[in-house]
Amino acid sequence: MEAVHDFIIGIGGESGEGVVLAGDILNIAAARMNIHTAGFRTFPAEARGGPSVVKIRLCQDHVYSLGDEYDILIAFNEDAYGLHGADLSATGVLLIDAETSEAILDRHPELKNKTVYAVPMDRISKKEIGDPKTKNMVAVGAAAAIFGFSRELIEKNLGERFLKRSEKVYHNNLAAFVAGYEYARDHIAKTDPFSAKEAQGDGFVVLSGNEAIALGALYAGCRFYGGYPITPASEIMEIVASEFPKVGGAMYQAEDEIASIGMVLGAAFAGVRSMTATSGPGLSLMAELIGLGCMAELPCVVVDVQRGGPSTGLPTKTEQGDLNLAITASHGDAPHAVVAAVSVRDCFEIMEYAFDVAEAYQVPVIVLTDQALGFRRADLSKTLLTERSGKPAPVPPPDLTEQARFLRYKITESGVSPRAIPGMRGAAHVVTGLEHGEDTKPAYDPPTRRAMMEKRQRKMDGIARDFASVLRFGDPNPEIGVIGWGSTGGPLREAVEIACAKGIKAGGLVPRLLYPSPNHLIKPFIESCKKVFVIEGNLTGQYAGFLRSQIPGFDPMLVTRYDGLPIQRSEILRKLEEMAG
């Protein structure tokens, strides 16, 4: 039997059984073995209780999606198998608690053709360890022994995690891990091919999309965060709260989202790179002040970790439903930018990009991610962090030699005016949300209004030109094209690459800059394909609708998903195969 090194593990149980921790330990072990990973955990809608599941995909090469079915399912109890058994592949492996194994096998005849390993997780934790809470560590131990995770690396990790809590907690967890490991080693006859394979390297960091946003902001020189807790974005604020003070920055928990964006604009005016992160309901509240940022021309970044809307909607589930809101963002014609992160790695990198756009063109930039991406975990190269100093660059003082007085809203060809921040000599000025002349003085006369509207709008051409960022996958001369954005980008890439390997001339296009639209890069792709479809996680096809308004005559087919779950690569692949006929 040939060993298979790329596989997907699912772990299911009741929340409180340590499902997430078990997943974390296996994920970190894989990262330390230099195996690329993608992981995901669901969490129940309520603060406590309910079923919990984590997914980890291991791959020798870069991973762009969570893949499809589980190759291995670790079920802490019968309910977990009931909930997730259907997602176990036909050749999959089930690892269960010995106490429930007979009942599960009796009731689920489909398991007769699958590999089932029974380990007495419950009994070992209770009888041998005397701590029922260590059941998850018995399971981790068994999984490590069966599927080739490094015992040594996990034992070291347990020390790092538990010794700071107490000697006893560490001892119990370690003993449970070892007992599970040795039980499986001595009693389980391995018949499956799945085996983690250690590679060369100095390991990865493993981050969730939300953590990557927070660290991306830190390394982009952001030093002020004003925010209000909201699922599924709060994790960003939590990482920021622990990291920003260490470099002299601040996380300020505001009284609401309107205050959050107000503070961010205040800090932006003061010359500090500043941001907030929220989800749909918060972005709705921020709309007016984002418009103030457009009018007063203040650079700042607003992250929207999208969830199912409208209203409270699906707070713990994913959707790409805020695009229309992000693009319109305010009353009036309000020039700003919307970018979308396509992966966990991109969550890190997009923050620097977003701040650069914001600062170069003095506009608010909205960064779209979503719950699925925010909670997805993946490996990132350590060099992403080590190659950056993350030191904020000071705002350069304006050149005051050429003009008698400083004109904060000077009309220029690019639309970008000189900027000054408090403390700079000879440049004191009043930014305002009122229409104004070059000298910031309120002005409502038609010629000034026209000139200022056009000046601000010109910045959009510059952004689309200077900051166009579009990812292209698959066949360079595709017949079938698929366009997606944000978190759909990963599954889209893999689906396109699998389709190409099957001989389908498929190409994928995933813009990171959504608005202003880099049409000069999108149009040639559309024109080069015989058929194009747009895939996105909302009901009405918001991006497809936007592209229709941007590219005359473009009328794509639409594949949408709006059930709270992320789009999978299998759905995209199926559509590509169907279209290839």
Binding site: L215, G248, A259, L289, G390, L434, P442
Partner: protein
């Protein structure tokens, strides 16, 4: 506080910008503005390190008339913007100006939090008990019975009383003045600016255009200095005078010494200079 680096002391007129106020004749805000000039000159604040923040309303046009950095923002959001300036650049001096609708109606949700966190800024509210910019509707401080186009049968609502609210919110400097008493309010502003923490100053500032009934005579008949027996550490006494049904007592109601937000989160009240480097090694360990 940032003293000016000017070689000769700045005079009140030196804080005037080139722009002329746009208020109606007789507006109380003229007196407030002149008293702000006087207070700034008294403290000798550096205009280049002063940020004046406002929301929307007649009085919120004020930043344009002061020589300093200014932020004329959105209705009700002056305080959050000011907090953003102060927390991100704690070395700057921050003055917030605006009206009663801006402060207590649309912006009312922000006051408790800036006050309880003791953000080191000075908030001057020009209270004319009316919405002026929208041409006369009742505000949260309008008296019961106020007749406007939007309350043609007379307002049926109980007004709020700002001083007692701010005392309850935990503001560490709370005062009330009257726009005609320019010297008194200038001294109040000076104390507010010098105070280390959240300073709130309500100035009764009549609107002769849209709230004629609540004009100078109305206030003259009802204002009185806080009794000399009142001390500024007496919170409950301050509450009682603030809620007096007959009188608008003028003066400093309350003053407390409590570390400000930025003095608490930043050592020495300043962001570290130079900034400490990011501890990349620790972060790598934290996430691997």
């Amino acid at each position: 506080m940032n003293p000016t680096s000017a070689t000769t002391p700045l005079k009140p007129a030196d804080y005037k910008s080139a722009r002329k106020p746009v208020w109606c004749p007789g507006c109380g805000d003229y007196g407030v503005l002149n008293s702000i000039f006087a207070a700034l000159a008294q403290v000798q604040l550096d205009p280049d390190r002063l940020v004046v923040v406002s929301g929307i309303g007649c009085s919120s046009r004020m930043p344009g008339f002061i020589r300093a950095y200014g932020f004329h923002g959105a209705h009700g959001r002056a305080v959050p913007v000011a907090v953003g300036v102060k927390v991100s650049r704690p070395e700057l001096d921050v003055l917030v100006v605006g009206g009663d609708g801006d402060a207590f109606s649309i912006g009312g949700g922000h006051l408790p939090h800036a006050a309880r966190r003791n953000i080191n800024l000075t908030y001057i509210v020009m209270d004319n008990e009316i919405y002026g910019l929208t041409k006369g509707q009742t505000s949260p401080t309008s008296s019961k019975g106020t007749i406007t186009k939007a309350s043609p049968y007379g307002s049926v609502e109980q007004p709020i009383e700002p001083i007692s609210l701010l005392l309850a919110y935990g503001a560490t400097f709370v005062a009330r003045g009257f726009s005609s008493n320019v010297k008194e309010i200038a001294a109040m502003f000076e104390r507010g600016i010098r105070h280390k923490g959240f300073s709130f100053i309500q100035v009764l500032s009549p609107c002769l255009t849209f709230n004629k009934a609540i004009g100078y005579d109305y206030f003259q008949e009802r204002v009185a200095p806080l009794p000399e027996s009142h001390t500024t550490d007496d919170l409950y006494g301050a509450m009682r005078y603030a809620r007096d049904p007959q009188k608008y007592y003028l003066g400093v109601y309350y003053e407390a010494d409590r570390p400000s937000y930025t003095d608490t989160i930043y050592s020495g009240g300043r962001r570290p200079e130079p900034e400490p480097p990011i501890e990349t090694e620790r972060i790598l360990k934290r996430f691997s």
